[in-house]
Subunit: 340 residues, 2 copies
Amino acid sequence: MIKHRKKSSVTAQDVALRAGVSRAAVSRTFTNNGSVAKHTREKVLQAANELGYQVNFLAQGLNRKRSQLIGVVVARLSDPFRSGLLEGLLLEIQRQGYQAMVTEVRNADGLEETIRRFTQFRVSGVIVTSGQPPSELVNECVQHNIPVVGINRQMDIKDVDFVCSDNKAGAALAAQQLLESGCKQLAWLNYKDSTWGGINRGECFKHAIDQHQLQALELLAEQDGYQGGRQAAHQLCASQNWNIDGVFCANAQLACGFLDGMREQGFSAPQDFHLIGFDDTELTGQYSYQLTTIRQNIDLIAKQAVLNLQARGRDNTAKQRFDLVPVTLTLRATSPALTD
Amino acid sequence: MIKHRKKSSVTAQDVALRAGVSRAAVSRTFTNNGSVAKHTREKVLQAANELGYQVNFLAQGLNRKRSQLIGVVVARLSDPFRSGLLEGLLLEIQRQGYQAMVTEVRNADGLEETIRRFTQFRVSGVIVTSGQPPSELVNECVQHNIPVVGINRQMDIKDVDFVCSDNKAGAALAAQQLLESGCKQLAWLNYKDSTWGGINRGECFKHAIDQHQLQALELLAEQDGYQGGRQAAHQLCASQNWNIDGVFCANAQLACGFLDGMREQGFSAPQDFHLIGFDDTELTGQYSYQLTTIRQNIDLIAKQAVLNLQARGRDNTAKQRFDLVPVTLTLRATSPALTD
DNA sequence: CTGTTAGCGCTTTCAA
DNA sequence: TTGAAAGCGCTAACAG
């Protein structure tokens, strides 16, 4: 009775044996690395097929000192823009033949731990969509030759590439639209502990209307997201004789909340005021909102992020990059197209 | 001049050398596996600290034939429920000390490729929140001793554990609420190519009202999501003398779309009809919707899923599990609480 | 409790 | 173009 030792998985050795070649030949055909004779290659492929061979990525990565993993840091996926961005990133990462490791991070400690974990898996790159990577950690990545790219983050870290929606252009578009629509009293709504992206948009907005000798009232929501926007609206209405007629918001959630908050008080857009958000999520297009927004090009952002990772993977001496991704104005009901 | 060879990363060997112990001792202290004298342990820890040593997970996994990775299959993250579920899963996966690999899958081929990739990384488990894993692939997992759990999927695959919201209870709650609110003509709205979860809810709903000698009109949306619901409403209104006064929807997106669609035609809930959705996403609670829904307990689902993975990892001979996670009725404006 | 040893499965020089 | 051989960094018997 033959003891048929059941191996848990087929290895390159098994394939080599069956194809009558060496382990090296198998490796070569599967990585398109060295040169393999057409004939050998076919033998290997057939044997592999018959055996159901699959490369062990752990072993491969260990050897190459680099896995085909890309680490992605996310937070607050409940925000549709953020989940949309993640979706875009996943698609692009997969399209380029990588596999995404994703971590939800709640605070700076979490970020640190996460990035450390990423390096332990020898990822090919790290994409940060939330939080500010501590420069010490980034250094660790650089030492391991792991490229890091930040999306919509403050661009103040050495050795990290950034891709960011063109907040300045977006703010200018919003300002232009509001002013050309005849708004006289503008306001800017943001979460009080906003991320850099929001703050940056606000600064750009103020700067844009400053050109017209105007100033924006600054509304700071106590909470983030929908509820924050709603409460901000309530507060605004509670204040005596407010006369705002044009509002620009740091993101779509705030904007929708603000719109609803105003509605609760009996005001609506565009009748009583104009409203422009930022992000253009699915929600903003819905009948009950029909929000005019600045649209971020998620696909492009994702593509650019992965591209940067790859580029720096090839040449880590490249100069730090700051990519601005164009945004567009999506006109809907809350600040409709101008009809000359 | 000493040639100081710059090693790219610190290995257990380096730590061992510095601490004056063997490589094995280092391994032991870091995996809490064998027994280590307190003193040795401390020496190792200190040396590791000084050197900035981090376990190489690729090597560890290769050796153990199992990485601390968990593969998660997702789709259509634009649906808030789905992104919420992913968030819950990420949190739980991390809490249990694993790291999530996530793949967005668009079709059956993609699922197959993905699961294969997961096995190549020797994941500790696979969580499928979208698509139906081909049983052939599942077999491959089982061979590699990789547990698979499906969430809200059809429970018809051998060797896969399932965790699923209690659709039956949810449908019953919805039916009860609608009937007790005085609705006489019920309808059930679903996407025409719905996933199993939706279909199952519908069947349960029909069954529930059947007990009261009632039948539900079946509304099938041509599209999924918000727009599908909206169009379904338009279609309903276009049909002559419809007299529906209570609607149950397969998910929140459809429900919100339906509500908006009806509003566009001049009808609203709860004045003209009652409406209950399924999922209870952030959106459903917003002022403009205030949808009464059946709430799925995402945290529990996530917890249960990871638990099942772990349990089966320990004992893969365990009996196939079908876990039902309780749901609750969240009463809001579109079908308000009964006031006796 | 500790060190020695033999791999895990793959890639990659280096000669042939 | 091919094979032999030396690791990648870690774990897990096994013997002391």
